[in-house]
Amino acid sequence: MRTTCAIMQRELLSLFCSPIGYIVLAGFWLVTGAMAVFNADAFGPGKPATLRDIFMWTPFVLTIIIPAMSMRTISEEYRSGTFETLMTAPVSDGQVVLGKFLATLVFYGMMIAGTLIYPILMEVFGNPDWGEVLALYVGLILLGVTFTAFSMFASSLTRDQAVAWILGAMPLMLLVLSVYNLARVLEGWQREVIQQVNIMGRFSAFARGQLATDDVVFFLASAALFLFLTVKVVESRRWR
C-alpha cells in the first residue's frame, strides 16, 4: 500500500513538473470553455439547464488529452533507465502499474473538477437537474478510467513518448469517431454489435442522466483488461 502510494506521489510530482501536465490542463479547459461559449444550445437564454451540450464532444477531446497525460508514465521509465532502479527495488510490477494509474487518474480528476464551474454557473442562473449532473460526472470519470488504462498500455509498449501518444490516441480516436458514425448508418444485428463498443453512445447515456449497469461494467471491465495487459507487458522483460 505504502509502495503504491509512493509511486503515485512521485508520478504526480513529475506530472506537475513537466510542461505536458499544464498544456493538457489548459487545452482541456480551453476546449470545454469554447464549447460552453460558442455552442448556442448551452447557456442560451431559455435553453434547458443541462451540461449535455458542453460535454457532447468530450469523449473525442479526451482521446487526444488522456494519451498525452499518460504517454510518459511507463515509456519515460524505459527511456531514462529508471525502470531498472524501480524494478530492482522490492516492488511488484502490479504495484508500479497501479501507482502510476492512480496518479494519472488523480490528475484527470483535478482536470475534470475544473469544469464544475459550469454546473455551479447553471445553479446560479437556472435550475439544473443535479441527478443528471452527477450521472454525467460519473460518466466522465469512467471514461477517464478506461482511456487512462488503454493509454498506459500504449505507453508500456514503447520507450518513445511520441510513439506512446500515437499508439494511445489513434485507436481511441478511430474507435470513438468511426463507431459513432457506423452506429448511425448500420442496421440490424450489425448495429447491435457495434453499439456495444459505441463509447459516444454510452457516454451520452450518462449525459442524459442514465446510470446503467452495463455501461459501468463496460468501462470498468475494459479498464481492468488494459491494466492487466500493461502489467503483463511490464512483466514480459522476464520471459523475453
Binding site: 505504502r2 512521485r10 513538473c17 531498472e84 530492482t88 527495488a89 522490492p90 516492488v91 522483460r237
Partner: protein, 309 residues
C-alpha cells in the same frame, strides 16, 4: 553472500552469460572485470532480480534470485550502470521516495537519509534538483540510494565511469570504507581500478569466467618469463654473445644505438644481476638496466587472447 552456480542467460539465440559460477565471501570486494559486452551487466541484472536467468541458480544472502526475487531486492543495494535518476526530483525527495519503496517509515527514512548523505558527501546537494547536479554528484546520489536501507550486499555496475580523476579517487576510497561492513561486487572495464581496490577479481569474457583469483595469484599465473631491457657500451657482437651465454637468458634481440647496444632480453630468474656482473667484469658501461614485471594488464590481455583461440 553471493553464490552463483552455472548461470546462463540467452537473449533469443544470443548467449550473454554462459554457465558462470562464483562466490563472493562476506567483507570482500570482488571486481568483475571484462571488456565491454562481455556479459557483466547481464550477470549483475540477474543477481539483482531485474531479469531471471535462462538456466542455473544464483543466491544472494541466502535467497534465490528467481524464487525469492523480492527478498533479494530487499537486501541488495544496487547501482545500475548508467545510474538512472529522476531529473525533476530533488535529492531529498528522491531518497525519501526510494525509502518508501523499501517500506521504511518517516523516522527510519530521516535517520537513513542523514546517514547516507553524510557518508556520500551529499550535504550541499541535498535540496537541489537532480537534473542540475554534476555527474559526480549524481553518482553519489545513486550510491546513497544503494546504501539507504543498509543492504547486506552491494552490487555496483561500473561505479566510476564518467567521473573525473579526483571523483574516481573519492569513490574508490568510499568503496574501500564500505567494504568493511558489506561485501561488494562491482564491475569495471578499467584494470587499474580493479587492481586498486579489489580483494578478488573475476575476469569475464564472452559470457564466461576465464580467470579468477587475487591480483597476485593472477599475475603469477602468467608465464614466469620476464622482459629485461639493457643498454651497454661495448663491441656489439661480443656483448650479445656474452649475454646469450648467461644463465636464464632465453633470447636476445640487439639493436645498435651509436656506440651503445640496446638489448631486449627474454629471461627467467635474476638476469639483471647477471648482466650487471658481466658488464662490470668486462669493463663495459651500462646506462640502462631494468626488468619489466608482469602486470594485471598483461594477464588480462593474455587471458582474452587465449580465450579467443
Amino acid at each position: 553472500m553471493i553464490e552463483v552456480r552455472n548461470l546462463s542467460k540467452y537473449f533469443g539465440s544470443r548467449c550473454a552469460v554462459n554457465g558462470i559460477s562464483f562466490t563472493v565471501e562476506p567483507d570482500t570486494i570482488v571486481g568483475f572485470l571484462g571488456p565491454n559486452g562481455a556479459g557483466k551487466t547481464t550477470a549483475i541484472r540477474i543477481l539483482t532480480g531485474y531479469m531471471p536467468p535462462t538456466s542455473g541458480t544464483a543466491k544472494v544472502a541466502g535467497y534465490d534470485v528467481f524464487a525469492e526475487s523480492l527478498a533479494v531486492r530487499r537486501v541488495v543495494g544496487y547501482l545500475p550502470e548508467s545510474n538512472p535518476l529522476y531529473p525533476e526530483m530533488r535529492v531529498r525527495e528522491y531518497l525519501h521516495f526510494r525509502g518508501k519503496l523499501r517500506g521504511m517509515d518517516r523516522p527510519q527514512r530521516a535517520a537513513a537519509i542523514a546517514r547516507v548523505v553524510e557518508r556520500c558527501w551529499l550535504n550541499e546537494a541535498i535540496d537541489r534538483p537532480i537534473g542540475q547536479l554534476s555527474k559526480g554528484y549524481r553518482q553519489r546520489v545513486g550510491l546513497a540510494d544503494a546504501l539507504l536501507h543498509s543492504p547486506k550486499v552491494l552490487i555496483l555496475d561500473e561505479p566510476t565511469v564518467g567521473l573525473d580523476p579526483s571523483q574516481v579517487r573519492e569513490t574508490r576510497s568510499l568503496l574501500r570504507e564500505l567494504a568493511m561492513d558489506h561485501p561488494i561486487l562491482f564491475s569495471s572495464h578499467t584494470l587499474s581500478e580493479v587492481q586498486a581496490i579489489c580483494h578478488r577479481i573475476l575476469i569475464i569474457h564472452e559470457g564466461r569466467i576465464i580467470a579468477s583469483g587475487t591480483v597476485d595469484e593472477l599475475t603469477s599465473q602468467l608465464s614466469d618469463q620476464r622482459r629485461v631491457c639493457a643498454e651497454i657500451k661495448g663491441p656489439q657482437q661480443e656483448v650479445v654473445g656474452a649475454v646469450q651465454k648467461l644463465d636464464g637468458v632465453v633470447g636476445v634481440n640487439a639493436t645498435p644505438d651509436g656506440s651503445w647496444t640496446r638489448l631486449n632480453i627474454t629471461a627467467r630468474g635474476n638476469v639483471p644481476g647477471a648482466v650487471a656482473d658481466l658488464a662490470l667484469a668486462r669493463g663495459w658501461a651500462v646506462r640502462e638496466l631494468r626488468q619489466e614485471t608482469a602486470s594485471l594488464e598483461d594477464f588480462f590481455v593474455k587471458a582474452i587472447v587465449d580465450a579467443r583461440k
